[in-house]
Point group: C2
Chain length 296, copies 2
Amino acid sequence: MLSTFQEFSKQYKDITEKQLIEYVSRLHSPAVLKEAMAYSLNAGGKRIRPLLIYAVLSSFGKDPAAGIPAACAIEMIHTYSLIHDDLPSMDDDDLRRGKPTNHKVYGEANAILAGDALLTHSFQLIAEAGHPSVTPEMKLELISQMSKASGAEGMVGGQIADLEGENKELSLTELEYIHEHKTGKILAFSVLAGAVLSGAGEIERKHLERFSFHLGLAFQIQDDILDIEGSEEKIGKPVGSDLDNHKSTYPSLLTLQGAKKKLSEHIGAAHEELRNAGFESGLLHDITDMIGNRDH
Amino acid sequence: MLSTFQEFSKQYKDITEKQLIEYVSRLHSPAVLKEAMAYSLNAGGKRIRPLLIYAVLSSFGKDPAAGIPAACAIEMIHTYSLIHDDLPSMDDDDLRRGKPTNHKVYGEANAILAGDALLTHSFQLIAEAGHPSVTPEMKLELISQMSKASGAEGMVGGQIADLEGENKELSLTELEYIHEHKTGKILAFSVLAGAVLSGAGEIERKHLERFSFHLGLAFQIQDDILDIEGSEEKIGKPVGSDLDNHKSTYPSLLTLQGAKKKLSEHIGAAHEELRNAGFESGLLHDITDMIGNRDH
């Protein structure tokens, strides 16, 4: 089972990365813009969001390839958000996954514009998706939901709340608002995109929605734990930065032990939703374990 | 005729501005984000892009109201581009239409994120457009074309080329590349959006495409002329800034007289395309004259 997951994961990670570069190389645009876009798309990462789309499609017995444009679209949005978050006026980070951040290499103006271009292109990918099983209505639902998940009511709203909460003692409710929006909504959209493309029914969607909610929080709690216990080499950025920045985190609000307990509860609840969803979801159970146990 | 145009223009400018604010006020987002988005959407301007959509629809005898979501989408994209262009790392402008620029009021991080949110929301507006005459296929074509016009192959590409060309003597070809992409593609998309929503045929589209090409260049040449001859009060920013910044412009490459001649040629060619297009286009002729004669 685990080996099936690893093969599946490797296969679709490769397909996604190749396709992302193909999309950018096709553009008729100034060279520096294409380079800056490709630089951050190439920076690696686990490609968890694309993997979620493919895994949902596969769980419904559909062709995972139907999810390639949407998977690349989400990865472009995720990448743009990292580029903009790293800017001097935001988190002012010099390193991302062990490499200099986009603005450190290309300058601030090009970094902002590379982010803008990635965000803009993501919608085109979905609008032009060519797989025969993808209907116009599916594409429009994906575009509408992707905009909600990544815009003012989703990721951008979460980033604003995160910046507002800096150097402030947050309540657990405020912290969860930030994470549910800043990272949760896009993870949830990835799962939803797989469900839309699979033609999932209302009940299956409900279970998947609650599954994503728990998965998203688990993801973020693990992120906070890794900032304390992780290895700088594996994470690709300095550990302990949250503490240095006096940032409210799950461990700071709940103690490290309490955060680990909460992580394990959300992982358990995510598995539970999958078990009740009534379809074959081995790959989604595996992704859940991967998120619970990840070390970078 | 002129009074019809002025009434039409006033009516749909008001509708657009009201609708833009309505879209933002509906968002469930942190207050400062909504304020920053509304601030720049409210900053006035001629709303030429929305007007082009409505005028094309009206020329085909269609209900201009079918274009409201697309018109608001384009105005959001135009507004986001102004917010990002004004940033310290780009043009570093303190004033826009006589008001402090977005980052001067809300800070750089919020300004970047307000721009990101406007761009993201624009695609949702088109995906969720409710007018009964708008089909899913039309929406997908609009989304695909809007992404092309505003992204790496359009406006963002033009802005990159503009930044690269700063403090450099440009050829007329390089200058036209910048303008065709930075401002021309979005103006052309506005016309195309009206054509798509009107169900225009291939030949009509061809004429409208050439019409937009000339209109876009005329618009930019007039912009350059106004930077020399305009009134600071009417433009809402200091005149002479291109000269101070050693920026290549039509007057700097062609002399002021030569630029005026070129403006008048493009205005003439735009009218000519409309006359040959074979449909009733009084409003489009009026917009063309407005662009040729504008003083701000």
